[in-house]
Each structure stands twice: as C-alpha cells, then as structure tokens.
Subunit: 407 residues, 2 copies
Amino acid sequence: MIKLNENYNKLPGNYLFTEIGRQVNAYQQANPDKRIIRLGIGDVTKPLTGKVISSLKEVVLDLEKNVHGYGPEQGYDFLRNKIAENDFRSKGVNIADDEIFVSTGAKEDTANFQELFSSDIKIAVPDPVYPVYVDSNVMAGRGGVYKGGRYTDFVYLECNQENNFIPELPKQPVDLIYLCFPNNPTGQVATKDELKKWVDYARANKALILFDAAYEAFIREDNIPHSIFEIEGARECAVEFRSLSKTAGFTGTRLSYTIIPKELVVYDNDGKAYELHKLWLRRQTTKFNGTAYLIQKGAEVVFTPEGKAEVDATINYYLENARIIKEGITKLGISSTGGINSPYVWLKTPANLSSWDFFHKLLNEVQVVGTPGAGFGLCGEGYFRLSAFGEKSNVEEAIDRLVKLKF
Amino acid sequence: MIKLNENYNKLPGNYLFTEIGRQVNAYQQANPDKRIIRLGIGDVTKPLTGKVISSLKEVVLDLEKNVHGYGPEQGYDFLRNKIAENDFRSKGVNIADDEIFVSTGAKEDTANFQELFSSDIKIAVPDPVYPVYVDSNVMAGRGGVYKGGRYTDFVYLECNQENNFIPELPKQPVDLIYLCFPNNPTGQVATKDELKKWVDYARANKALILFDAAYEAFIREDNIPHSIFEIEGARECAVEFRSLSKTAGFTGTRLSYTIIPKELVVYDNDGKAYELHKLWLRRQTTKFNGTAYLIQKGAEVVFTPEGKAEVDATINYYLENARIIKEGITKLGISSTGGINSPYVWLKTPANLSSWDFFHKLLNEVQVVGTPGAGFGLCGEGYFRLSAFGEKSNVEEAIDRLVKLKF
C-alpha cells in the first residue's frame, strides 16, 4: 500500500501566498469593477533590463544555429566566474568560482538544502519568517507537532519591536540556523557586529547558518554587510543564498545562486567530518539538470558595469516607492521598520487589529493588498507587510487610499 | 552539531554521467589531437526547432515591455491546456488541464516525487535503471544497505535477454513502482497488454506506478501505447512524467510536465486516503517557483500542428541514426534491443567484455563514447548503451570505427 509522508498533514492550510491569491481573486470576482492595488507578494513590476533583453535576443539567435544541451548542474563557468568576481572578490570577499552553484530559485535552494542533513538536527528559524524555511523542514519531519501556531521541535528566534527585529542567540543548542538580512518580511538589516555574534555562535557550536541574502542589493547604507562572508569566520559556518529575482527582475525568469565555501563540514554520528560542498554537488547532480543556458546567458550581463547600473536604477525606483510608503504610513501615525535598505515596510497594524483583520479591511475598504504578518509566524501577529514592488503611481494611490480607512 | 544525512554515504561513487564526463575529459586532455564521438549521454544534437525559436524571439520582445513575474507554480494555464489537449485528449485519453504540472525537468520531478511518501514504503525499480530513481530513494533512506551492487531494501525488476527486457511482476508486495517505456537504457517498449498487467497489479495492491514516458515521441509502431493512461484503470494507480528534452531539443532549455490524475490516493497508517494531486501541489507551491515564463511560451508552440511536424522531423532524424547504429552493430555480430521506437540501442558487449572494459576499449581504441550498462545496475553488466543523438555523419563514422576494434 502506497503510504503518505504524514509530515504533510502537519502543515496547516495553504502556502501563505497561495491563500492570499485565492482570497484576492475571490474578492475581484465578486467586485469586478474595483481596481485592486497589489502590494502583497514581493513580485517585481519593472521588466527585465535592457542589457538582459539584448543578451536574450543574441542567445535566441545563437540557439537557432547551435545546440546548448545539458549544461553543468552547478551552472556554467562563465556565469560562476562573473558572480564570484563581481559580487564577492571585487569587494574583497574571498569566494572561488566553484563555490557558486547556479540554480533556478532561492526558494528552491532554501527549500531543498535541508535534505543534506540528518532528520534529528535542531532547527532555529526566525519568527516572523519566510514560510519556506519552516514548511520544508516540517515536510522532512523536523517540526514535531503543530500546536498553537508553532511546531514543538523548532527553536523560534523571536523578532519584535522590543529587540528591534534582530533576534537574540538561542538559549538552547541548535544545529541549523536560518537568517535573512535584509529581512523578509520585516525589512530589518543587520550590522557586521550583529552578524559576527551569529558567526561566533555557529563556530563555537558547530552549527551551520543558512543566510538568505536575496535582498542584499537593496542595501544603501555603508555599514551594513551585503554578504555574511564579510564576517570573519563565516566561511567555516555559513551558506549564502542569492537571487536575481528582486534585483534584475528575474521573478518569472528564474535564476539564483548559492555560495558554499569549501571549508564547510558536517558531521556523522561518530563526529567524522564531511565536506558540505561535495554533498550539495551530489544532491544537485542527482536531482537537478541545471538552469537553462538561455537564462544563464541572460543573467551573465547583470554582472557587467552596464548591467549593474541598470539594476541599481531599478532598485532605486523601488526604494523610492518604499520611502513613499514609509513616509505615508508614518504620517498616519503607524510605526514601521524596513523600507530603507529593503523593499519591504513592516508596519504595526493600527487600532490593534489582527493581521488578517487588517488584510481584509484593506482589501474590502480600499482595495489594497498587503501580506498579513501572522502568515509569517506568531510574532508577525499585529503586523503587516507592504511591498515597494509596484508602479510609483499605484504606490502613491495606495497611500492616498489608506487615509480613507475608518477605524 | 550539524549532522549529515547519512544516507548520502550509502551512495557509491559519483553520479554515472558525471563520472563518464570526468573520464572522457581526462582522455581528451591526455589526447588533445583525437576527435571523440560522443554517443554516451542522451543529449540532443539538433538545435531548437524554428517554431520554438520564433516564439522565443517574440517573448523576448514582450519581456522588454511587459513584466511576467512569478507564475503559477504548477505552470501557466495556456501551456497546461495545450499539453492536455494535444498529448492526451486529442488521442482519446482523458486528462484534464489541471492534472498537468509543468516543471523544469523530468529528472527533477522523478527525483523529487518520492518526497510525498512515507520513508518505509517498499520501492520497486527496474534493473537496469535510470540512476535517478534509485539514488533519490537512497538519499531519502529507503535503500537499506548497499551490498554487492544492490540496495538490500529495494525490489529489483530484472530485465535481461531471457525476458526480452520486460520485467515480471514482483514476487513480494511493493508500494511504489518505477517503470520507463520506451526504456532508458534498454530502448525496449511495452505493449498495452504488458502495461495492463502492471496497472492491474498496482490496483490490486494499492501500489503506485511512476511512469517515465520521456521517450514516448520516439514510438513509431502502432500497437505501442504512448501513455500509461491509454490503459484502463491507470488513472487510479499511475503518475506519468514527460519532457520536451528529447523531443523538442529542450535538454538545455528545461521543460517537463507531470500528469497526476485526481483519482489517485495515498494512505496514512490508518488507511485513510489522501489525494496525491493536492500533495504534489502543496510540495510544488512550497519548494518551487514555477518554470520561466519565457520557456513556457517557447514550449507552447511545440503543441501546435507546425510545432509537432518539426518535432516529428527531428525525431525521424534521430531514429534514422538509431537504425544505422543497429544495422551496423548487427553486421558486426553484436546483438541488441531498442533502436526502433527509441533513440537508444542496448547492445550485448562482444567477447564477454565487462561494460566498463568495453567503455574503455571504445574510448581508447576508436574514441567513441557510450554508456557502460553496469552503470545502470547489476543486470546492465555485459551491456552497453549507444545513443542515436548525434550528427548522422558522426554516427556513421562511429560505426565505421567500431569495425576496427580488435578483440
């Protein structure tokens, strides 16, 4: 008899963004004349940049004549080199070309990475958190029981107004730590000193940090590290995930990369060490057949001076939106974090509304879609995420509409 | 302490094709003047067809102006509809649009699908076998111990000259059955009667069949089913995997699709049934962010009459290569299967050479690369796979070179 992975039954309801999509679609169907402004899911609204388009045009002409079949599962050398050089070495961060693994998405890689580890390791996740870290570990049986909005076997790193949304070190030993800065959903960033604390903890405890840097390109302040590898010792205890989704507009084009230093080891029950780099290579060569050549070529130009200038311009556009949102809600007396080195503004819901009540109020009264903080964890209750991905005119209108909310 | 998934230690050596690539590269470096003909890995040698290229050109122009961001994880409706209509409904096979899940590769989907099941189910795999079915289950802890070339916990469905490479039903109960027709690596096909036997078995035993139909487009004989869903009852017991890799030349462009009928259920320990369709949707929405819009648009035209005609022409080209290989080796007195409804010719190694000895002999003496049968399992020992993906002139030259082999 074919039996279910019963861990799936421990997942409550739908994937967050699927559920929001369902509710928004239902509202639109019931109210076809209403114009909804979506500042919910973190999807970009600017098309691919000119350099990427030019490159794609060239590659299609190449593909007309030439075969580019199965590529290396870990990505083409031309792209791995460009990434390592531009994102890291040119900034004084020591990363080798073959420590870069190209993939189709940071969602995929952050979800799949836990496969490399024993099922009995202790997981630490931020709260609020990008749901993929949690759900992928629950599916793998590491969650324990879901009770009162939390899994009994996870250690939750609480982020709230009291600690300025920077979690404290766990009080009990943990083995795998998910961190994300600039943070999704809170928009908060971490200084070098704050990250150093985590690196020191991980090294002292033989723990591993999975560092999600999908939003690093939004950092504009000088003292904020873009990579965990700017921190001394991180090569011994951290993996970093990056993506072109939010930077070069690849949400629907799909390209990400994961950085695995060769120093990293994991241990068997006898304490023998194994290279993590080799394990991920084995995983990828067995279960993945590489990112499309076409898309890797399109991505390559993002790492040229012109490509980087275009990305910067796009991000500045979104950051201006973030500024408008933050300024607008501040005027309404709503407090928030993020929105400076991040496309996300994380606001405290007014009138002590619950996250979902505020979601429904926004949708029903002013047709603005955001993301209920509670969808990201218990600590997200009473908060709400607005995304700066949108047309400036829509963002401005959304803020104008918010003024009309009645409490 | 961060601990390894110790199942990875049960995997012997490298992934087969990575290992072959390594050996071929080493030979080429040591012998830079030799021209190697590669009939090893099943990679296509014809570029994307004209219709696909035209579509890609159009989409790039569209992407220049318009944003196509995160798409549905299960694929765009425009493509799911085309697939269901053209591959199935137009041929009298009842498959609904939303039973199609678009993905980036049949390797990915066949590797990931086992995640949906309990770790203690009994797995049946063909021998010889596409290594991904085996390795992905070993990584998930279902293999037991690797001993004498086999895993103690798998049931091996032996395919050999005696049974004409069509396996018999297992003698002990199994829960999950991997089948692949036209087969990789043997090139063998199964008749409706033969598949009916498996469908009946699966229904009677509440087992599930994972049917890999990546090579269905190579079928030219009338009495051979292209889909397991041509068999009565299969909607209750089978999932089918298809791919554009070997048909429309998408090996480096990455698009596949998986068909999951809504009747399919899996059971918990109490025998309660759960819909498999919903489980895969949950898996995909949590761990996958969809196939690139660009590539889905490129794939869409494969399912138009002109697109299908182009694919047919390409496949006829490869089938002519297969015929040349089969005829050539038959003249040399080498027996084989496949090569008629399949791009693969599976030959008995001459002079009782082992698979790897024959591989090295071919590489060293005549610079032809094939795939050692032993890499596909114990029953592959003494066999060798030649692939018809190649330029006709190269295939002809490879056959000419084979004549020069000395035994």
